[in-house]
């Protein structure tokens, strides 16, 4: 957000000399705030004031890019605290821990477990994006060995290592992959900063409390390092939540650029081995400002819930989530199974397919392109009409792919029955129920 006139006014010499062409400094400040006059029209503005102003035009929160190739990720860059205010930009990412205290077999097994969860949900790949490599203090050799194994796992890396010498050795082998080096704090600030900047990687910084975190960021910025991520993990869940909120709110609401970095929250540390508690906390930090959420493990049970939540929260309110148009064979449907038609709005698809799956009746769910709108909205906008349905049938070659000639349409667009029958000769168009929840009973009765 641009500086308000009042803030600019505070930077002016307040002499009302009129040399800028405005009658007063305040009038000038106002015009600068509006963008109608350039700040350099004032001959008396100090160099610091000009620097402050130019900084104020940069985004409040930095976007940090880590990893390379397919494992490149963007973090931060948010402009609002709540998704309804505008949109959230970069979804939070998940990391799972590995440790230099584990033996080779354990490491291999855990990496294999991590890689099991890798699937697609509405056009998005859902998997563990980061490996979070804990250093257990057992020597650089062990740690470098762990890093080498992790590099072969095809994931972005976070080196969680507060020993600058060991970190340096680890970065020697993996810095090309742009990992994050996490672990800078008051005691090792200079050493860690030197290692991270030499390797050109993002540095994770923390502190004993929010005030010390703030001072440490300031100190690092003072040394010219603005490639940072803030480890908000405190001694327990409460302090971690407070840190995450205070950092983000201090940045976006109170406009303090020192806090303008993405965050790490290490749940493996604060959930104390309670896997369900870890899910509850991960859900909370998905909503409240975790950028990288570190987990002890993520199985399908956690993934299905957490990735579903994340996909919802980080969807752009302006752009509805869509599923691919086409034929979705449910409950073992074949070419002779009845067809049911609906729109490509993701929520509609989930509700309808979910209900049909509960019914256990084989159904070919036909999803037509309706620009991601719901049934009635799409119908009203002309995106779900006999014409668009005919076009979809032709493009998807339904006539040849499916032998059944029964088509169920949503009850809300019962008025289209006649038009569809006219466009699709030979098809028996059946009007389905008004709401998805009535589908189970409907299709059971229908199939009986």
């Amino acid at each position: 957000m641009a500086l308000k006139g009042l803030d600019i006014f505070k930077l002016t010499p307040k002499k009302n000399c009129k040399e800028c062409g405005s009658p007063t400094c305040m009038a000038f400040a106002m015009k600068v705030a509006q963008g109608s006059v350039s700040i350099d029209k004032c001959p008396h503005m100090s160099a610091e004031a000009l620097a402050t102003l130019s900084e104020s035009t940069a985004p409040l929160m930095k976007t940090i890019t880590v990893g390379t190739g397919a494992n490149e990720h963007k973090l931060g860059g948010e402009t609002v605290l709540f998704r309804h205010e505008k949109t959230l930009v970069n979804r939070n990412l998940f990391a799972v821990t590995l440790c230099s205290c584990m033996d080779d077999a354990e490491i291999d097994q855990k990496i294999a477990e991590i890689k099991k969860v890798d699937y697609e949900r509405i056009g998005e790949r859902e998997y563990v994006e980061f490996l979070f490599l804990n250093y257990a203090g057992n020597g650089a050799d062990k740690y470098v060995a762990l890093v080498n194994k992790a590099m072969a796992a095809d994931r972005a890396l976070v080196l969680n290592c507060a020993d600058a010498e060991v970190a340096k050795a680890a970065l020697e082998v993996c810095k090309a992959g742009k990992p994050i080096l996490n672990g800078a704090s008051k005691d090792n600030l200079d050493a860690m900063n030197a290692v991270a900047t030499a390797a050109g990687v993002t540095l994770g910084v923390t502190g004993a409390d929010i005030s010390e975190i703030y001072d440490n960021i300031k100190a690092l910025e003072g040394k010219g390092n603005k490639n940072l991520i803030v480890d908000c993990t405190g001694k327990d869940a409460k302090e971690t939540f407070a840190n995450a909120v205070l950092v983000r709110r201090g940045n976006l609401k109170d406009q303090d650029r020192t806090l303008g970095y993405p965050s790490i929250v290490n749940l493996a540390k604060i959930a104390e081995g309670d896997v369900h508690m870890q899910t509850a906390l991960a859900s909370a930090f998905t909503l409240r400002y975790g950028s990288i959420i570190v987990m002890e493990k993520i199985t399908y049970a956690e993934a299905l819930a957490l990735y579903g939540l994340r996909q919802n929260i980080f969807t752009d309110p302006q752009k509805p989530m869509k599923v691919e148009p086409g034929i979705y064979a449910l409950n073992g449907a074949d070419e002779n199974s009845v067809c049911s038609l609906t729109v490509d709005f993701a929520l509609t698809y989930f509700l309808v397919s979910g209900e049909y799956e509960r019914s256990k009746c084989p159904v070919n769910l036909l999803i037509t392109d309706a620009s991601g709108m719901s049934v009635l909205t799409a119908w009203a906008a002309g995106k779900f009409s006999a014409g668009t349905i005919k076009k979809f049938f032709d493009e998807a070659d339904i006539e040849n792919k499916i032998k059944s000639r029964t088509l169920i349409i949503p009850g809300k667009v019962a008025v289209m029955k006649g038009e569809i029958e006219a466009k699709l000769p030979g098809w028996n168009v059946v009007v389905g129920p008004m709401e998805a929840v009535q589908l189970v009973k409907f299709i059971k009765d229908f199939s009986a």
Binding site: A280, A284, T286, G308
Partner: protein, 314 residues
């Protein structure tokens, strides 16, 4: 320069609403900060969990964990009594699923008899949830509110179509608490509260159900509605949105594929019970962080986890 975070406690606050009577009664709401923002100001009353019990008992229940918990229970009343011992439970939510005229169409008299039996057997506050049929729900709420006078129950819910009936009986004649339900429509949420207040139902007798959904199933609408309601209630001091929020979580999360699909259909997903617990935990946590003052849940492991989660952030 030491960093002192700016506090954001509001002069407005959420209404405090009491449910139930006696030692086991609970108060929800009363806070003047965003959910779990204890660093801005202390939170007056922690969020609570009500355990959902279907009037069908365990019929249709797919979770081994839930079945195991209620092992030995012969009736819905037994289950309600047992649910009180669930770690983290503060209230019992009796769900009249079988009252639906398009389903089993259980009679109003039978519903009342069950509600009375449960109320006689339990000490915790009671919530009653209808079958989503507007006329039938109004009949059940009227009769149950009458029969349970003095128990200070919460009926879920009065909707746009039946608020007059439900508000006048439950809220006024029988002095119970009324839940006002709007399906993720913040304008309607406010309007319903205005209408109930114009009807004469005191603000301290009203809770809101601003909608519910499972994580992954359009949860963004609910999440943004919760955020907006709390922002209006606290930052804009909107009195018509200062009612505490009650969110039914389990009826949604136990109805989605992730929680219902048997393990043999997708073996890589692992045991059904774990998936159901995680869906319930993930969704309940997200509701609470958004601003629910009470969540309705089913699985004992999920209830225990969310209770621990709440305590860890207070």
């Amino acid at each position: 320069m030491a960093f002192t975070p700016k506090k954001q406690a509001f002069s407005a606050k959420i209404n405090a609403v009491t449910l139930g009577t006696g030692d086991k009664s609970i108060v929800i709401g009363g806070e003047n900060v965003l959910p779990f923002y204890t660093f801005d100001a202390p939170i007056a009353n922690k969020p609570r969990i009500a355990v959902e019990i279907s009037d069908k008992g365990l019929e249709g229940c797919v979770s081994d964990g839930i079945k195991a918990f209620y092992a030995g229970c012969d009736s819905v009343v037994d289950m309600a009594v047992k649910a009180q011992s669930m770690e983290g439970a503060s209230a019992i939510c009796l769900h009249f699923e079988s009252a639906d005229p398009n389903g089993e169409n259980k009679s109003v008299e039978d519903c009342v008899a069950l509600a009375k039996a449960v109320a006689d057997a339990v000490e915790m506050p009671i919530l009653v949830m209808g079958c989503k049929n507007i006329e039938k729900d109004a009949q059940i709420f009227n009769a149950v509110s009458d029969a349970l006078q003095g128990k200070n129950i919460l009926v879920l819910s009065a909707r746009e179509e039946n608020y007059k009936n439900v508000g006048a009986s439950a809220g006024l004649a029988y002095n119970q608490k009324v839940g006002a339900e709007s399906a993720v429509d913040i304008n309607l949420a406010k309007q319903l509260n205005v209408l109930l207040s114009q009807l004469g139902v005191p603000d301290a007798s009203v809770c809101m159900n601003v909608g519910s959904s499972a994580a992954g199933y359009g949860f963004e609408y609910l999440s943004s509605t919760l955020d907006r309601v709390k922002a209006a209630a606290l930052a804009q001091s909107d009195k018509q949105l200062q009612m505490p929020i009650v969110t039914p979580v389990s009826p949604e999360t136990w109805g989605v594929k992730e929680s219902m699909s048997p393990e043999e259909e997708s073996p890589e997903w692992g045991p059904l019970d774990e998936r159901g617990i995680e869906m319930e935990v993930c969704t309940a946590s997200a509701c609470l962080v958004g601003g629910s003052n009470l969540v309705i849940m089913r699985h004992p492991a999920a209830v225990a986890t969310i209770s621990k989660f709440i305590d860890s952030l207070m």
